[in-house]
Each structure stands twice: as C-alpha cells, then as structure tokens.
C-alpha cells in the first residue's frame, strides 16, 4: 500500500484509461459494464485518499516520468481540484449501477461495449483536466473527454442525436481551439506551460507586454465558456442533453460542464490572479452580466419546453449561470457558493436526469403530456424528482439553498442588495418549470401511455434515491461540501498559491 500511495495522482488517470481500452477489447456489453463498474467504484477511493492528504495541509505535486516541473508535466492536487476530483468520481460511482439496464434498453447489443469504453475515456479526460497542472496537458484531456462525449451523444436512438453531436463537435472544437490559442499566447510571453510557473512569470510579462496577455485572457475566457455553456455560448447544450442516451446525459450534465467551470476558476484565480484579472479589466462585470442573463433567459425558455430532458438542459444553463455568478462576484463567500454549487448542482441534476431516465425506461417517452398522472404509478421515482426539483428551486433544507445562501452573502458584500433580489427572482422561474412537471405528474388523470408503469428495478432506483437523499443531507450537513469549498475559495481568493 505504501508503494502505491505516492502514485495516486497518476493512478487516478491511468486506471480509467486502461479500463477504457479493456472495455473496448472485451466487445461484450455485460463484461464491459463490469469493467466500467469496477473502475468507477475504485475512483472515489483514489480521489478520497488525495482529498484526505491535501486536507491535512499543503498540496501534492506529482512529476510524471520523474521530469522536474516546469519542464515536465506536473499533476498538482490542492483542496480545490481534489474536491472536483471527488465530485466527478462519486457521481461516476453512484450512477454506474444505473447504467446496466438503462444502456441495455437504449443501446444496441453490439455497441454497448463501445459505449462503456467511451464513458471511461470521458471519465479519464474529465479527471485529467482536473488534476493536471499543465495548460497544454489540460487541452489534450479536454479533447479526450470531448471526443468521447461526441460519441456518447451520437449513441442516442433518435436521429437528432447525430445532429446534436455534430453541432457540439463544431462548437466544442472551436472552444478547445480558442483555449489552445490562449495557452499559446501565454506561452509566448512567459515561456512556460505550467500553471504555477506561468502565474509566477505573468505579473512581469503583463507589465512589459500587456496586449498578448489580455488577448490570451479573452481567448481563454471565450474558449472555456463555450465548453461550460455560459450563456450565450450554450446553443450546443440543449439538443446534446435532450437526445443523448439517459445515462450519458446524466453523467455529462453532472460532471462535464463542472470540470470546464473548474478550469475557468483555475485560470482566473490561480493563473491570472485576482488582481490582474478583476481590477484592471471589466471581467467581473462581464461575467456577472452574462450569468444574470443565463439565469433568466434559460429558465424562461425552460418553462416552454415539452421535452423534459430539454427542459432540464435549459435549467442546467441557468444553473451554470449561478456558478459563474460566484466567479464574477469573486470574493470568498461568492466563490464558495460557486464551488459548492458545482457539487450541489451535480447531485440534484443527476437525480433529476436519472428520474427521467427511469421514466423513459418504463414508458419510452419524456414528453410532458405522456407523463400525466405518472406520479402514483412510479411513486418513488417521481417523489425523488420532486425533492431534487425543490433543490433546483433552492428551498431551505435542500442543497440548492446552501449554494444560493453563499452566493447571496457574496453578492451582498460585493455588489449590493439588488443582486440578491435578482438571485431570488430567478429562483421563481424555477418554481414554474419544476412546478409544471409536478402538477402534470401528480395531479392529473393517468395518460394511456403510463397505465402499466411502475418504479424501475432496484439497480436503477438505488442510485436515484442515494442522490435524492444527498440533496437533503448536504442541504443540512454542509461540512463536506461547503466546508471544503470554503477552504478552496479561501485559498483561491488568497492569491497565487
């Protein structure tokens, strides 16, 4: 065990990567599922060990191949990315048992192994972006996860899934290329790619050559914002989430955009530093403005959707608005709200998409009118939907309230009470689009489509109920979410660490 401990950062990436290759070679769906399950269940232990080490103090620097940073690629784990690693790993581990029946139902027999292969590659890419301390390495992992994501989306049954995947490929590639242009400009002025090293050299470079630094900031902001679907760069997201297989939607909605947000926070606070970034340039105002636009416009569009997966996708765009709002506020409470909402939104949205996946498994549709009266037929599933829906609204006692509390405190200190009112007003829109589903599902006569429906098998029900319980649990006991997020935010706001 002691021989393995120093290599945990590498294992976090290597294990899913090898798992992906193995799953691809095995060719049979059930065996590939077993590999994916084993890998997914191992990941939280590795991430947990890393988190436990960094909570004890300091950060971990891992030299890949023994090359000394900044020359070699460095994996750097601190409280912030250990938290995100834990988030991605736990979501993967909790939702994986759900995949077996859901994937068997939605994907052709011959393609299931490839689906799991792509899932593991996507997991590798997401964990890689999070753990790496090298800007170009992050680009490579960005593309690993993105290419796998395009395949996962295209695996959907509907032919529109192909179109959604193609559109995401175009937008995603433009985003990644913008990111790499930004990294290139930073490399030209600093001569380095290591995040820590770049940030150390950037202050001087920015005084000598401010223009390429500002251009790099602009390219990086736009590139990563495309990836995280910041309004108005979100156009790829609704169709991608609506037509992807249920499990793929769940996993992507809970993790993929979150990791892109992580990268944006890392660039803003660890690389550019709050001083350079937020005082000389109107970045803060821009991000806050777009976030508010996202919170209202996307929530408003969500109200009129009849495809519920699409509705939740628009809700995701709105929720990402809350997360970026905290980045724009850029004080400790605001950033705590952002980071804790990464986890909180992942939990709630995963629960909601799992519930819809279960509905699709039983009645083969996620159209609103097909769900009428389904509540009493699938009581546990729809009860979970209601609880997680309360989380999205931000009701006290759920995780959504915790995030909004920190955001409101941050907004009050930095911007003033009008922004607090804006946060509350946008929550009311969530009441409408979640309430609409609750009304149709519980208070209408059953539609012919859901006469024979019942709660899904246990392997699908348990992940759903675990995430729903987490929606309540972390809304009351915030030690592991807001506590760690607060530490991470303190470290990031505290300057260049």
């Amino acid at each position: 065990m002691t021989a393995v401990m120093p290599h945990l950062p590498a294992l976090q990436i290597v294990v899913p990567l090898l798992g992906a290759i193995l799953a691809g070679f095995l060719r049979r769906g059930p065996t590939a599922f077993a590999v994916a399950l084993a890998v997914s269940w191992l990941m939280p232990f590795i991430a947990g060990a890393l988190l436990w080490q960094v909570l004890g103090g300091g950060s971990i620097s891992y030299r890949l191949g023994g090359w000394q940073p900044p020359y070699g690629i460095e994996y750097r784990v601190d409280v912030f990315n250990a938290f995100v690693l834990m988030l991605v790993s736990v979501i993967g581990a909790v939702t994986m048992p759900y995949a077996r029946r859901s994937v068997a139902f939605e994907i052709d027999e011959g393609r299931q192994a490839w689906f799991y292969c792509m899932y593991l590659l996507c997991l590798t890419g997401l964990l890689g972006i999070t753990i790496t301390g090298d800007a170009f390495n992050a680009f490579v992992f960005l593309e690993v996860s993105a290419l796998a994501t395009y395949v996962l989306i295209a695996a959907g049954r509907d032919r529109r899934a192909l179109l959604a995947s193609y559109q995401y490929l175009i937008m995603g590639t433009i985003g990644a290329t913008f990111y790499v242009i930004g990294v290139g400009l930073l490399w030209v002025v600093t001569g380095s790619l290591n995040f820590v090293d770049v940030s150390a050299r950037l202050a001087e470079a920015a005084t000598v050559q401010p223009r390429p630094v500002i251009t790099a900031l602009a390219f990086l902001t736009v590139g990563v914002s495309l990836k995280l679907a910041l309004f108005p760069l979100h156009s790829w997201l609704p169709n991608a989430y609506a037509y992807a297989p249920s499990f793929a939607t769940t996993f992507l909605a809970a993790t993929a955009t979150k990791v892109a947000v992580y990268l944006l926070i890392r660039l803003y606070f660890s690389v550019f530093g709050p001083t350079l970034n937020f005082q000389k340039l109107p970045v803060s105002e821009l991000i806050i403005g777009l976030s508010i636009a996202a919170m209202f416009a996307a929530s408003f569009i969500a109200i009129f959707q009849t495809n519920l997966k699409r509705m939740l996708a628009y809700s995701s765009v709105a929720q990402i608005g809350y997360i970026t709002l905290g980045i724009g506020i850029a004080n400790k409470a605001g950033l705590t709200g952002s980071i804790v909402h990464l986890a909180n939104h992942a939990v709630m949205k995963a629960a909601l998409f799992l519930a819809l996946g279960a509905v699709f498994y039983r009645i083969g549709s996620v159209k609103l009118h097909d769900l009428s009266g389904i509540g009493p037929k699938m009581p546990l599933t729809m009860a979970a939907f209601v609880v997680a829906g309360f989380g999205i609204i931000g009701t006290p006692g759920t995780v959504g309230f915790i995030s909004k509390w920190y955001l409101a405190v941050g907004a009050l200190n930095e911007v003033g009470w009008p922004l607090v009112l804006v946060i509350m007003a946008s929550s009311l829109l969530a009441v409408i689009y979640i309430g609409r589903v609750v009304e149709v599902a519980w208070f209408r006569d059953p539609s012919p489509t859901c006469i024979g429906a019942s709660d899904p098998p246990l392997s699908m029900l348990i992940p759903l109920l675990v995430l729903t319980a987490a929606t309540i649990w972390f809304g009351i006991d915030t030690q592991w979410t807001a506590g760690i997020a607060g530490k991470a935010a303190g470290m990031l706001v505290g300057g260049l660490k």
């Binding site: 290419l147 295209a154 032919r159 529109r160 175009i170 290329t177 790499v180 290139g184």
Partner: protein, 121 residues
C-alpha cells in the same frame, strides 16, 4: 512604408490570422456539413502555425547539444503541435463519420434541409 515593413516582419502571423479568420468564417457561413469541417480544420491548422512561428529562430539549427551549435530553434512547440495535429485528425475523422451517419439517416448533408426534415415531424 512602415506598414509594409510591419507586414513583412510579421508575415507568418498575417498568414496565421488570415487562415484563422477564413476557417472560422467557413464554419459560420457554410451550410454544407463537410465544408464546415474543412473550415474547422483550416481554423485548427492556423493555430499550428501560431505555435511553430515563435519557436523558429532564423539561422538556428535543430536543438543538438554540441559546442559547434549555439543558436537553435525551440523544440517545445513542435512537440506540442504534433499532439495538436493528432487531436485535429481525430476530430476531423469523428466529424466525417458523423456526417456519413447523418447522410444515412436524413439523405442530405445540407443543414437547412436537415432542419426542415426534423420540423416536419
């Protein structure tokens, strides 16, 4: 005269920016899915130039540790761009594969015709 001098001194960057804008314009303006992918490839290729250009030193050799050579080009961007080229090829291949599947399902690769077909349903 000053303009010509600036242009000539930054010849590579002018080409880079031209390719970047041309590629991005094709992606935005064309409705044909294969043409869009070609535009995307041109856009990505321009970034390869952006990286390679500052690494080159006129009169420099390959980075060989030898007292006879003192001026050499920076090898780092070449290594990075080798990786980026692989990523670009993979993206293009996947994009074309998707276009093939789209053509099988819709019978066309023109975006407006595809949207019209989905609206009919």
């Amino acid at each position: 005269m000053q303009l010509v001098k600036t242009f000539a001194e930054h010849y590579n960057y002018v080409i880079t920016i031209f390719l970047m804008m041309a590629g991005l314009y094709i992606v935005v303006a064309r409705g044909n899915m294969v043409k869009k992918l070609i535009g995307l490839s041109i856009f990505q290729t321009s970034v390869y130039l952006l990286y390679i250009t500052p690494g080159k030193i006129i009169g420099g050799t390959a980075p060989i540790l030898d007292p006879a050579f003192t001026v050499y080009s920076n090898p780092l961007p070449h290594v990075l761009i080798l990786t980026a080229i692989v990523v670009g090829v993979a993206t293009l291949a996947l994009g074309l594969a998707l276009v093939v599947r789209i053509n099988e399902c819709y019978g066309t690769i023109e975006e407006d015709e595809i949207f019209a077909k989905d609206d009919d349903q």
